[in-house]
């Protein structure tokens, strides 16, 4: 399946891409479009684009929306969702120490990656690492 999102990916889109590949659609193909592009390309599921189903809702990030939409009940993923929430947009309570660091690292990954495809791969490695560490602490 094809999945589309805005280019210049940061923590939320990296985490979503990782989630898609690892838990939803292992053969996912990503399409990156310039922010604000309308209409959205046909035949691709949009994510982390304002106004779509798999996007921010009620102050939660798109990663959170994906867990809900695909009924992923893994407690480690729920914990990741909170971390991505805090890394991605300012939250009233900050309870996850990993969040600010994750935001910085993901921004840096995009800066050092030649394009969004590579950034998505590298972001995925970070998410794998985060998942493993959280799982070990469960």
């Amino acid at each position: 399946m094809r999945w589309v999102t805005w280019e210049g990916i940061k923590v939320d889109r990296m985490a979503c891409g990782w989630l898609i590949r690892r838990f939803i659609d292992p053969k996912a193909e990503f399409v990156f479009i310039p922010p604000g592009t309308r209409p959205l390309p046909k035949g691709a599921e949009p994510f982390d684009i304002p106004g779509v189903r798999l996007s921010h809702h009620r102050g939660h990030c798109s990663f959170h929306a994906m867990l809900k939409a695909y009924k992923l009940k893994d407690p480690v993923l729920s914990r990741m969702a909170r971390i991505v929430d805090e890394a991605d947009v300012v939250q009233e309570a900050a309870i996850e120490p990993a969040a600010p660091g994750l935001d910085f690292v993901c921004r840096g990954i995009r800066r050092t990656s030649p394009d969004d495809y590579v950034a998505m791969e590298r972001g995925g490695m970070i998410c794998d690492a985060l998942y493993a560490e959280l799982q070990a602490r469960e």
């Binding site: 304002p50 921010h56 809702h57 300012v90 009233e92």
Partner: protein, 148 residues
């Protein structure tokens, strides 16, 4: 490097009730360090990060049944621009000074004060010198709270 700065402007309307939502939006803007100009326009220095934050906040406002518009803009005069920069600096300098004052009054609660420092630093858009003093003081201070 010294060209005119770009600013993000947010205007919005949230339904009057429930009032918790108005407070929620207001709090988020304060957390970002946005400044409310003339009771009507919220302003932040432009950056990728701030633009993303405001874009998502605008989406949230729409979900509440409110309306929001986000703009990028330049000040029409240098004077207006420096006034704005000064307003941002005063806000963070004040917050930093409060931390400094508490650091100098032992026993200082270093864990609370360093948390507070991080919150202020997140909205320190113009690299406050008082912020550097706080940082130095936090690194020097030992449990008893004597910073020297």
């Amino acid at each position: 490097m010294n060209g005119p700065k770009t600013w993000l402007l947010l205007t919005y309307k949230v339904p009057r009730h429930p009032s918790a939502r108005r407070v929620y939006v207001w709090r988020k803007l304060k957390q970002l360090g946005a400044i409310l100009l003339h009771d009507s326009v919220w302003v932040l220095p432009n950056s990728d990060r701030s633009a993303e934050q405001l874009r998502w906040l605008a989406e949230e406002i729409k979900e509440f049944g409110g309306r929001a518009s986000l703009w990028t803009s330049h000040a029409a005069s240098e004077e207006q621009e420096s006034e704005l920069v000064r307003a941002f600096s005063q806000d963070v300098d004040k917050a930093y000074s409060q931390i400094l004052a508490r650091l100098r009054r032992p026993p200082a609660d270093l864990s609370t004060l360093s948390k507070r420092y991080q919150e202020v630093m997140a909205r320190d858009y113009f690299h406050s010198l008082v912020g550097e003093q706080v940082r130095a003081a936090l690194m020097k201070t030992k449990g008893g709270g004597r910073s020297r």
